[in-house]
């Protein structure tokens, strides 16, 4: 399947146009849910860390540091990708699946269009281009949410929180997070496209394919997360 997906598009103009549409549909339209999740998760991480810091040996800026590291290393790339697996994965599988059962894919093939390439490649491109943007946006909003929560509950000052955010910052962690995001984005879209493209039957089967796509891509993300962590952080 992937060999056909990554072949040369029939018309580059269509490919770029479709990619922009997909960036809007699977990227920009995901901004609200990512923003909401990130701000609240960042706030919860900061509050939980602050509430469990009873030892006087721990410096005050630890709250900011833990919010920063957990957000960059795990929360933004992995949890946001799992959320996107639900939102984007089901959307992609049901869109392509509906096109399959209503013979729209057959219509493309009859015209001589490489349907896999035409439908799937722009979605993969959009995911690879925009998922990292979403994750960086999530990182920023998460830390902002943590700051707001701490500020309103009067648990620390802005200066100490920012000191924590900047402490022990390792730029490689950003590389690690964005590498994970690229792989997760590819997995989400390609798995969902696979389930949608090869669906057989009617609307009920499209629904089943959509559910299967979300479950499989979520499991794939968890496994890939484990493997990538082993490869990138521990070797």
């Amino acid at each position: 399947m992937l060999g056909v997906v990554f072949s040369r598009p029939n018309r580059w103009r269509f490919y770029w146009k479709q990619s922009l549409i997909e960036i809007e549909q699977i990227g920009i339209n995901s901004l609200p849910i990512v923003a909401l999740m990130s701000a609240f998760m960042g706030a919860v991480i900061a509050l939980q860390t602050a509430s469990s810091m009873e030892s006087p040996l721990l410096p005050e800026y630890t709250v900011g540091y833990i919010t920063q590291s957990s957000t960059i290393l795990e929360f933004s790339p992995t949890i946001i990708s799992l959320i996107l697996a639900g939102k984007v994965g089901s959307n992609v599988a049901s869109e392509i699946g509906t096109m399959r059962v209503t013979e729209q894919i057959d219509a493309l093939e009859i015209m001589g269009v490489n349907s896999l390439n035409f439908l799937v490649l722009p979605k993969i491109t959009a995911a690879l281009v925009f998922f990292p943007v979403l994750v960086v946006f999530s990182m920023a909003l998460s830390m902002f949410g943590g700051w707001l929560a701490l500020l309103f509950s009067d648990l620390t000052t802005t200066e100490i929180y920012i000191l924590g955010i900047r402490s022990f910052f390792n730029p490689f962690h950003i590389t690690y997070a964005l590498s994970k995001t690229l792989i997760f984005g590819f997995l989400i879209v390609s798995i969902a496209s696979f389930y949608g493209y090869y669906v057989k039957g009617g609307s009920l089967d499209v629904g089943k394919a959509s559910t299967q796509a979300v479950v499989t891509s979520s499991v794939a993300i968890l496994i890939a997360n484990f493997i990538l962590t082993q490869l990138m952080l521990l070797s």
Partner: protein
């Protein structure tokens, strides 16, 4: 002309088509008829390459379609128009965009030329003025006509229509039948219509291929099918009370 030899197809070990040979002539409406589940649509899908036949070869004007790679097939497919049973219009595009799509994808026509061609195709199917409607805003008959307009946009040499009348009222069905017939004669193309509608058979059946149990059972035309001496064809043609009445009247006359 479309010719095919020894075409057979199985699904999960069950044979659906049995070594079918036939040819469809240019400038005529060629019908593939038969009861539901006898292999008509599978045969048509084998002919256009949506299914790969297990055995056999398909030729489009002597060009061996079965033996071609994807790129070469794509060239032939640009000469094929197809009207699907459910119309298969792209539901995110307007009527105009649906008809424009193959022209923008495969031709080097200018914007003005494309617009002119789209307007002509829509006018040809009596849909001028419907350019900005979405498929969901069109009736079943309109959707079929948009499907025909899209199918003829690329000036095809071959036109396939899968159950063009399904879900349509008798009057609209005749409009679609006549449109297919007129387009076939006007553009001198090879048209293949898959149907089990006797009205269509009598209206436009220049040449008829009757498929039964996955086999080529009978060939003829709309005149000879009435008197075909074959129990399967007889039960197909005279399935409705209306056709039975006609037969009785004909028998009384003779």
């Amino acid at each position: 002309m479309i010719e095919f030899h020894q075409v057979s197809k199985s699904f999960n070990g069950q044979k659906i088509l049995f070594d079918i040979d036939h040819s469809f002539e240019k400038g005529k409406v060629n019908l593939i008829i038969g009861q539901s589940g006898q292999g008509k649509s599978v045969l048509a899908k084998c002919l256009v390459g949506l299914y790969e036949p297990d055995t056999g070869e398909v030729f489009y004007d002597k060009r061996n379609f079965t033996g071609m790679d994807r790129a070469a097939r794509s060239e032939i497919r640009q000469e094929i128009g197809m009207l699907f049973q459910g119309s298969a219009l792209f539901d995110s595009m307007t009527v105009e965009q649906n008809v424009k799509f193959p022209l923008q994808m495969f031709t080097k026509m200018t914007k003005a030329e494309i617009q002119h061609r789209v307007d002509y195709c829509l006018e040809r199917v009596n849909l001028d003025g419907s350019n900005n409607l979405l498929p969901s805003e069109c009736s079943g008959g309109m959707q079929k006509r948009v499907g025909i307009a899209r199918a003829i946009a690329m000036r095809p040499r071959y036109l396939f229509c899968d159950e063009p009348n399904s879900g349509l009222d008798p009057k609209t069905a005749i409009v679609i039948d006549n449109l297919i017939n007129d387009i076939t004669k006007e553009f001198d193309i090879t048209t293949v219509v898959i149907t089990h509608d006797m009205n269509s058979v009598m209206e436009i059946g220049d040449e008829i291929l009757f498929i039964h149990e996955g086999k080529k059972w009978w060939t003829g035309n709309r005149h000879s099918i009435i008197n075909a001496d074959n129990p399967e064809i007889e039960s197909f043609v005279y399935a409705s009370s209306f056709m039975k009445e006609i037969r009785e009247k004909l028998q009384k006359k003779t």
